[in-house]
């Protein structure tokens, strides 16, 4: 399918906060309570519409364990948006936001839009971080903030789409240099069909016959 823009995202945050579940909810609209743990990076993509234009989101989901930061860091570069996720039921994941943010700021391009996400908002009874605290943190560091639930899908669409809108606005303002792919933004192919056409994920089934010798 053709697109006008392609935005690269990265999802970061402590281990077990629900990064992969957010991605799965966004791309597949389903919730898998016990998701396999992510090692290194995984990848997802979805098309959305902003301002009547097709925008493709290419999302890199990263491992949260400290040891993997050396690997995930290389994905900061070339990302236009970042979803920084913490778990509202675990305060330590909130406390680590500063180090994540530092890391992100240090290794990304300066215009990267960062969305702060307090995930697991369905677990109100076990809440350990107040909504206001998240808001305050976001205000202080100039981030957009949202509480989501990958389980109930609350705000998940919005989180991804609002980030995209912000990036789109920045493009309109001329902040982003869209010709530089290192910014995580790509213009869609003018004549799209051949590249993405027949071989979408679902179309793969037919390729079996053509397997290699």
């Amino acid at each position: 399918m053709s697109y006008a823009y392609l935005f690269k995202y990265i999802i970061i945050g402590d281990t077990g906060v629900g990064k992969s579940c957010l991605l799965l909810q966004f791309t597949d609209k389903r919730f898998q309570p016990v998701h396999d743990l992510t090692i290194g990076v995984e990848f997802g993509a979805r098309m959305i519409t902003i301002d009547g234009k097709q925008v493709k989101l290419q999302i890199w989901d990263t491992a949260g364990q400290e040891a993997f930061r050396s690997i995930t860091r290389s994905y900061y570069r070339g990302a236009a948006g970042a979803l920084l996720v913490y778990d509202i039921t675990r305060r330590d994941t909130f406390n680590h936001l500063t180090t994540w943010l530092e890391d992100a700021r240090q290794h990304s391009n300066s215009n990267m839009v960062i969305m702060l996400i307090g995930n697991k908002s369905d677990l109100e009874s076990r809440r350990d971080v107040k909504r206001e605290e998240g808001e305050a943190f976001a205000r202080e560091h100039g981030l957009i903030f949202m509480e989501t639930s990958a389980k109930t899908a609350a705000n998940v669409e919005e989180a991804f789409i609002n980030t995209a809108k912000e990036i789109y606005e920045k493009i309109q303002e001329g902040v982003f240099d869209i010709n530089n792919e290192a910014n995580g933004i790509k213009l869609g192919p003018q004549h799209s069909p051949a590249a993405a056409g027949g071989m979408a994920a679902g179309g793969l089934g037919g390729s079996q016959g053509g397997g290699c010798c």
Partner: protein
Amino acid sequence: MSSLEAEAREDRERAAIVARYDRGHAPGAAIDAWEDPKLEIYHVTDRYGFIHDSRLPDSLSVQEKKQHAHEMERVKKWLDMLKDPDYERRHEQKWASRIYKGIPQRVRGQAWLRLLRVEQQLQRHPGLYDKLRHEARLWSPDARQIDLDVNRTFRDHTMFRERYGIKQQALFHVLVAYSLYNSELGYCQGMSQIAALLLMFMDEEQAFWALSVLMTGELYRMHGLFIHGFPKLLRLQAHHDKIMKKYLPKLKKHLDKHGIDTSIYTLKWFFQCFLDRVPFPLALRLWDAYLLEGEVVLTAGAYMIMRMHRKTLLRLPMEDILDFLQARLPRDFLYDEDTAIHELTRCMSELRSGKLDRAGQPTDVELPRRPLGLPPRPARAAPATATAPAPANAVPLADADSDSSPTAEQASPPPATRVSIRSRPSSPTAPATPVGIIPAPVPPPSPPPASPPPLLRSDGANGVVRPADPLPWSTDGMYRRAEAEQRARRAAGSARHKSAEAGAGDGWAASVERRRRSEGRHSGGGDGGDRRVRPGTWYRQDSSISYRYSDPTTLACYHYQSSSSSRGSGPPPGRRAPPASPLGTEPPRPRAAAASSAHVRARLSVCLCAAHARHAGVDSVWAPVTPASNGLRRPGHLSLTQLSGDEPGSPPTSPPGTVSIYVSGSGGSGRRSPSGSLGSSSRLSLRWSGSSVTSSLERSGPRSRVSVSPAGATLVTIGPAGTDSPPPARRVRRVPILLEASGVELR
């Protein structure tokens, strides 16, 4: 039990059974879940134990039936084969070819245990696992992460489906126990899947030792894959690139064009030997081969997958390539297992003839540096304090060398860092340590003059503040290896000393390479001790030991204590060295009573003031102590990776971009110079990404400081403590670095 009791019991049981039948299938009837015909789980579970989303076909396909019949035939052969305890040695080829044909599922557990030589490990370490498990439950610093991951490991498998079920319990315990056993590595994501796979075929203790062999056994050395910085992963990925360039240039170009880097898709291939990236039955077949051959299977397997699917991949755009490799292949590999394994062997021979079957020489950082075994429980690591800051006085920084006179640095304000290099009293009554357990030191009779600051480990993402690893460990196994190596080297000539002086890191790397070249290829697994042991096997460094820290942000206080030989002990040079043993796994042999009783003491302390170190990107630090007149006969060696910055909030203590390292040390022979000092030829080497600098300390010091500006590789200052006193303790993030130098000798 008396016969009366038995009868009564039988009567009760019978009555209960009859009552259940009288009641019938009524609501409230006590029916076990598995007895219910409606229970869908049996219809959705495959023969490996995985639960599928939809009902599986009731009958097998023709091909599956054929396959199963074939497998049943092979089971007989396998059972015969496994009866012979020496089969793999006597019929090496047949053993290998049958493994490539696929180990029947029924005997896979037994075969894997054989391949990994788990039995030998169990015999060598009786009871150690239980001790580790017990200790780990009290203070494993990785319990939290492991808990998170057990909850996410093979939950679609019947064994691991139930939260806190029996196999989840086993998985948790294997991992926490291993995190203590190999405390340098601890736990890294990715290990849980491997342990779980092993647990599908073995019991808890077997799985633990199997995991241990996979991590540090000669053939697998997965330690290097999981240790900080993933050195082995990077080596394998670079090699994969090389193979792609040579054999699949077109595909490589295609991937490059779409910005698909090797590191994206090969990570799980190498980390878990294709688990989760190909269908499970094929993964098992690849594991069969991996356990037989080791690393080469990873290299060849990656090539095999790319080669078999090259045409498909060439047609796909970026997202679909990743989707294909990450999501599609695990569902359906498009080829059956036998075809894939056949292709694997073909790829292996192709790579062999192209001299690309081995991914280069492993580097020293891939090997465990710290002894394996049960570390002594930190004094303050009571169960409840796992997440609480440790009391300030608990870190036994004062070395166990109780009878040494206080030296200048002990009295100076930051009593932080001391490295003890001391000889073991050559008495035949050395305390016998249990196998594999690293003994705690004898506590000094009097406390050090000043309490050191608490050394905490902040476990980044998890917020676990860990107490610093505290105690001196004796390293018997390591040490004997060192001796043997030393003797061998002496016989070989003195070339090595030169290389050690040129830079301990280089010297060591060179020696390892030399050693490896002479070693050739080895078959079989095991921690290394059980077969064809040569003095100084790969995983340890003898004369100059460097430790790499797994968590660079913290560099806790690791304190090693080593013993040294004095001249006169041990066999004379040239005599064949006794076989060495794996680290910390052998009880100490009493020293010959005739050996000289002279003690050699050397103390080296290095205090790192790592302000801005992160920005500086310092990679490693070595502080080799070269042979000196004062008795440090062989180089000591120290290694650090990525020094961290100051504690957040504290003012920086070094100019931006520089790192200060405080070095103070003393060494000397007991009788001649009890408070001897570091030899004047002691040198400090710093090394970081791409650059290095080596500098002699200006004089043997109580304390010398060297500041470097890593970017420009300029040595800013170096001098004794008198001229440059250290900053106040509270402002400095002190990173004690401890150094073991073995083979300290009297001159």
